[in-house]
Structures are given as structure tokens and as C-alpha cells.
Symmetry: C2
């Protein structure tokens, strides 16, 4: 996470217009969404979004207020990074040769990552963790050649035994 | 993945209106996005979305065609599930007691999951894998009590050594 980024946990109705309303709110104001994730919750009628936004205190304040007013938004919470577990996922396909494969799989172990596919020319790897860990893995992979990668927006869950 | 679901890999310009345009396209037609993920690629000017949609062949066809017409959409590809590695991530906080904690951590090992936070009353776990594996873990956790969970939309990367 960068210094000016903040994390929003948003509980919304599981309704097809809600993603457009939420992203539209940001687009209209010119606020940039760095990452957005939407997935199921323990309640089938509700989804949970984790949104990472860059901005100052004014933008932070406005975002929370405006989101709370939206139809289908049930709850909005700022999740302070120091009180949350923040995790990202990366799938990355790295070019390998017979000579370099063992070097790549060694890094997989060091990063506690997982090989999910491989053939003679490429290894596909799943890495999870903090942004900085994923960035480090991407940097490492670059020296071998990145064929393809996709990265999910961060998920954040509060530390301790309470819920959002 | 359910029978009528399909996976789209979409390369878009890293621009704040693009998420609204993409989700708006679905909302206007009443097509439901089951999950959506947007994150960085190896090119800082481009983002990659993985979108899971429910629908028949007509909807599938229309979605690809309409997305390709959108401003800021550079490439759209249908990713057949049998030719892809599809992975999801789940963060889940499970209620535990001194008596049940070892049962939960045993399941963590079986599922090749990771404990990312814990205290006297709760364990927070990261699980990655196919939808069915995550569903199974959620089902297991329900017997102990789910305090909170958040789930990222699926990521999909093609098998083999070629790129999207």
C-alpha cells in the first residue's frame, strides 16, 4: 500500500446495477480506483467490495459519505491498514528453459508460492501476500521473461475477532 | 464454475472511467456479473479484468462484441475453463475456542490454506483455489461460526506457454 491509499470495505446488495453505481460515483468525481474486488459474503443476498483508492483526507471523507448514500449500499467502512490483514493474489506465467527452471521453482519455495501449471517453456505460478511481496516476485520474474500475468485487487479483513 | 458461466479476459487502458463503462454495459442489458477483478498487468498503462458472467450463447456472443467496441478496451477474449487455470481467494475469520482450534488448523493444512491472523476467539485464514474448494471450506467453517469473510472474484490465466 502506498502512503496516500486507503481501503474501503463496502457491503452491497447483490444486484446487477450496484457495481456501475459505485464505480460511477468515483468516475464522476475523477477519483481513481486503484483496485476493486467484489465477491460473495456469508449472506447470499449481499456482496462485499474491497476498494483501494488514492487520495487525501478530503477525498477519503467524501468517498465514505457519498457511498453510504447510494442505493444498495448497506455499509461502508474505512479499514485502517494497521488493523487489517491485506492480501493480494497474482497469477504469473514465466518463461523458462531447462537451465532456468530450477531457479524459478526455488523462488517459488522462498516466496511460499505455488506452481499451478507448467510445460517445457513456461511455469505458471500463484503468489499471495502483501503488495510489496507480489511486486518483488514480478521484479524477479522480469529477468526470465513474463509471458502473461493477472493480478487481483487486494482483499482486506480486520484483525482480531470482530467483523466489519 | 457453474454450467452457464463463462470467463472473459479483458485488457483495458488504465483509466478511471473504464470500470464504469464496462459494468454499465452489463447493467444496461440486465446481464449479471458474477465476479469482476481488475488489477495491474506487466504494462503500467494497461489493466486486466477477469469477469465471470452467467448467460447463454447469445449473451456470451453479445458481451464479447459489445465490450470490444468500448473505448479503452484493447482486447477481449473468452477463456475456456478447460484451457485455463482459474483461481479464487478467500479470507475468512472463523470462531474458535480452545477446544476447536486444533480442528480448524488441521483443516487449514488439508486445504493447503494459510493462517494469517489469530487470537483467543478467532482464526483468520487465506484459502486459494477453485470455486468448489473455497465453497467446501466455507461449508466446513460454518459449523464453527463465520465471523466475517471476503472473497475475491476469480482470476484466470490460459494454460500452456502462450498469452491472452
Amino acid at each position: 500500500m502506498k502512503k496516500d491509499q486507503f481501503i474501503l470495505g463496502v457491503i452491497v446488495s447483490n444486484h446487477f446495477g450496484v457495481l456501475t453505481r459505485v464505480s460511477g460515483l468515483f468516475a464522476r468525481r475523477g477519483y481513481n480506483i486503484d483496485s476493486l474486488n467484489v465477491g460473495e459474503t456469508e449472506d447470499p443476498g449481499l456482496s462485499r467490495m474491497t476498494i483501494i483508492v488514492s487520495g487525501d483526507d478530503y477525498i477519503k471523507d467524501q468517498t465514505v459519505k457519498q457511498l453510504a448514500k447510494l442505493q444498495d449500499v448497506k455499509r461502508v467502512e474505512l479499514i485502517p491498514e494497521e488493523k487489517a490483514s491485506v492480501r493480494e493474489m497474482l497469477l504469473i506465467k514465466v518463461r523458462v528453459t531447462r537451465e532456468t527452471r530450477s531457479e524459478v521453482t526455488e523462488a517459488v519455495n522462498i516466496f511460499r508460492a505455488k506452481v499451478i501449471d507448467f510445460n517445457a517453456d513456461a511455469v505458471t505460478i500463484e503468489v499471495t501476500g502483501h503488495t510489496s511481496k507480489l511486486d518483488a516476485f514480478v521484479e524477479f520474474a522480469r529477468t526470465f521473461g513474463i509471458i502473461e500475468m493477472c493480478r487481483a485487487g487486494a482483499l482486506a479483513i480486520s484483525r482480531g475477532s470482530t467483523a466489519l
